[in-house]
């Protein structure tokens, strides 16, 4: 059972409280700090009176406990089965060659039991030795906070070399790619791991320039709830910070925050909903949609005709130079 008190925030909090009480009698202040750090906003209203009022007979009034050993619990079968399942995932080798042996454990799921059907097929080469090596170097740099010297191939096929301070590793399930988020480099703040040729610790002096977080942009979209569009659109854009307002029985306004760097991707995602969504703001985004539609009209698209393909003017096709691929 996934929903069990064995995994609850309350059990974890009490385990931490008892661990502290075994070491020395626990002060109320310390008790409250542990609750605030480990449990939820209102938990202090429940855990403290339950322990101090002896409803949970684990902590004495003087802050001591009858327990003699630090509270621990073996892994449940469910936890072991999940670990076994992820040990079968190719991406585990990015982290380690020595995953804990779980020989007598059945996996909770295998590759036959689920299928991600819309993932892009040009994902990173997770089983490639050089890729694994680069990944591990980057992870070590993140753990120990040191700069890296990186050589990569740009989308244009040129080799670039630079020094960066790694900030985090970003993974996209859709692209099936890792990107390194960095600071301290004018060339690029986001580096596709798949483009890295070599990566090693940078031993020279390195000063990190404070980077400014990009200001999010707000996209406003009016949607018409036909063909279940309301649910489809809201689920599709669920991962953005967003707000929905009902305009009338059939129309809604969706406002979401987006990163300007992802604008082209967002344009095509909006287009996928056809006439059931209309971008109302910002005007620059509206114009991007309009330009695509104007060019589509100029394509002279024809449905269900088998004769020759109409020629496009160079102007039409060259106008869209912005890559729909991910950033380098």
């Amino acid at each position: 059972m996934i929903f069990s008190e064995l995994y609850s925030a309350y059990y974890n909090t009490v385990a931490r409280i008892l661990t502290a009480a075994i070491e020395q009698p626990l002060e109320k202040k310390e008790l409250r700090t542990i609750i605030e750090e480990t449990a939820f906003g209102e938990s202090i209203l429940n855990i403290e009176p339950a322990l101090c009022g002896e409803r949970w007979q684990l902590l004495h009034k003087d802050g001591t406990t009858s327990l003699r050993h630090t509270p621990t619990m073996p892994l449940t079968t469910l936890q072991k089965r999940w670990l076994k399942a992820i040990s079968l995932d190719a991406r585990i080798r990015l982290f380690t060659d020595d995953f804990p042996a779980l020989d007598d454990v059945e996996p909770l799921f295998t590759a036959d039991d689920f299928c991600v059907f819309d993932r892009y097929t040009d994902g990173d080469a997770f089983e490639d030795a050089a890729y694994i090596n680069n990944f591990r170097t980057i992870l070590d740099a993140l753990r120990n906070r040191y700069p890296l010297s990186i050589t990569m191939i740009t989308p244009n096929g040129n080799e670039k070399h630079f020094h960066v301070m790694p900030k985090s590793l970003e993974y996209s399930e859709k692209d099936d790619k890792f990107r390194l988020i960095t600071s301290g480099c004018r060339f690029s703040t986001i580096i596709n791991l798949g483009r890295i040729v070599s990566c090693e610790r940078f031993e020279g002096s390195f000063s990190v320039q404070p980077s400014e977080n990009a200001r999010p942009h707000t996209l406003e979209v009016e949607l018409t709830d036909e063909r279940n569009a309301l649910e489809r659109v809201l689920l599709h854009f669920a991962h953005f910070e967003k707000e929905v307002e009902r305009l009338d029985e059939k129309h809604y306004m969706l406002r979401m925050q987006y990163d300007k760097n992802d604008e082209t991707e967002l344009v095509i995602r909006i287009l996928s909903f056809g006439p059931l969504v209309r971008v109302t703001s910002p005007q620059s985004f509206v114009e991007l949609i309009r330009q695509r539609l104007i060019r589509q009209m100029q394509c002279g698209e024809r449905g269900d005709r088998e004769d020759s393909i109409p020629q496009l003017s160079a102007q039409n096709t060259a106008a869209d130079n912005k890559s729909e691929e991910s950033k380098p």
Binding site: Q57, P275, Q296
Partner: protein, 414 residues
């Protein structure tokens, strides 16, 4: 019953979380048709668990509460917190910690009577000591043996209990990553809770977190698949607001990383065909008997998959398979476009017509599933064709409607 931060039944909170996160435009009055108190309790719980993400908006219809989460920033799925709120009794928690203190080492092996007797030593110093009878302790021991955290051994007629071997925990980075990307990732979050430090070295783009709410359903389906068993599903049909039961052989869960939906592909003996059911519509899963033909059904699904764009295994037209094709043109400096087509084509095929033109073709059960994706190529489509005339008409009319929506008339601009 007095308000409690903890809950007994996850399904109720599951509905509210989805409502506040995915939609978030309904006012309190719309929720309180059934019970105002229930709404107030669930809203208060969510504020306690997910307060950082709660937002409020005052409208003419009343105050709206919603959850707004940028999953690219949050790093850990906030909804996992909801899975850590199971209620329990005062006796449950007291017994739990004392029991594992008594059985603190895997070498210690004790009978029920010995454990029960030992417990009194832990409790006697309290003003009103709890007394656990043997039947209560036996029930808890049995529950923990089933969970795999205790082992029972019979010696003659006597049963001995001891704690299970400790499995070494893996690296926090492994748990951090897989708890976000692997199915049933909440289990990884439970494992992370056992570690003192969190790594926070990973962030996630295009990260759909709603599936977390369906973790129990997904887990039950995986367990049934591993044992090749039938399941009885209780399914909510939200449009018609009714619930049905369906007995099926669960074969595979289809997951989308482009909208976060998860579907169960299953064989239904009643209708003798494959069906797909959204996991967020499944209210409960009851595991039944072993399905003797499980492997044959799964093989049949494997054979069907080269004609499935998404999860549909039949078309509205009634045709066995539908054909769809479209042609795109791109400039010399737009080599990323055919690359994009290639990486996104799934079961389709691509034919290079000339240096700047290629054609996509697919034969699928339901060509309607391709329409949203085809629209992402608008501005380059020079030809398209559906064998289903209704889809041909819809695609054409939708493009015309989009032109009108943005004030574009023949000639290219207004």
């Amino acid at each position: 019953m007095a308000y409690s931060e903890l809950v007994k039944n996850f399904n109720k909170i599951r509905d509210y979380m989805r409502e506040f996160y995915v939609y978030g435009f309904r006012s309190r009055e719309e929720f309180t048709k059934k019970s105002a108190r229930s709404y107030d309790d669930e809203r208060r719980r969510m504020e306690s668990w997910l307060g950082d993400y709660m937002r409020f908006r005052q409208t003419a219809d009343g105050k709206n509460v919603f959850l707004s989460i940028d999953s690219r920033v949050s790093r850990h799925n906030p909804f996992y917190k909801a899975w850590k709120t199971k209620s329990f009794t005062d006796g449950d928690i007291t017994l739990h910690f004392i029991l594992f203190d008594i059985l603190h080492d895997t070498e210690i092996s004790m009978t029920l009577s010995e454990i029960t007797e030992c417990m009194d030593d832990y409790l006697c110093d309290f003003a009103k000591p709890k007394m656990f009878d043997e039947s209560t302790v036996r029930k808890k021991l049995k529950e923990y043996v089933e969970e795999g955290i205790l082992l029972s051994e019979k010696q003659g007629k006597t049963v001995f209990y001891r704690r299970a071997q400790q499995t070494p925990l893996c690296d926090a980075d492994v748990l951090d990553f897989f708890s976000e990307v692997a199915p049933c990732g909440v289990v990884g979050s439970y494992l992370l809770d056992k570690q003192d430090c969190r790594s926070d070295r990973f962030s996630f783009k295009h990260h759909y977190i709603t599936g977390a709410m369906d973790s129990e359903i997904l887990c039950s389906l995986f367990q049934a698949m591993q044992e090749k068993r039938f399941v009885t599903l209780e399914i909510a049909h939200r449009a018609h607001a009714h619930i049905t039961e369906s007995r099926v052989a669960p074969l595979r869960v289809m997951m989308s990383v482009q909208n976060g939906r998860q579907y169960l592909m299953a064989y239904t003996r009643r209708y003798r065909r494959m069906i797909s059911t959204r996991l967020d519509n499944i209210l409960s899963v009851k595991t039944g008997e072993v399905c003797a033909d499980f492997d044959a059904h799964r093989q049949r699904l494997d054979e069907m998959m080269p004609h499935m764009w998404g999860v549909s295994t039949q078309s509205l037209s009634g045709e066995h398979l539908e054909q769809v094709s479209f042609t795109i043109r791109y400039a010399d400096d737009e080599r990323h476009i055919p690359k994009r087509l290639e990486r996104e084509k799934r079961c389709g095929t691509i034919e290079q017509i000339d240096a700047n033109t290629c054609r996509f073709t697919a034969e699928v059960y339901d060509a309607a599933e391709l329409i949203p994706w085809m629209r992402t190529f608008l501005c380059r489509i020079t030809e398209y064709s559906f064998s289903n005339p209704a889809l041909q008409k819809r695609f054409t009319e939708d493009i015309q409607a989009m032109y009108r929506l943005y004030g574009i008339e023949e000639g290219g601009c207004t």
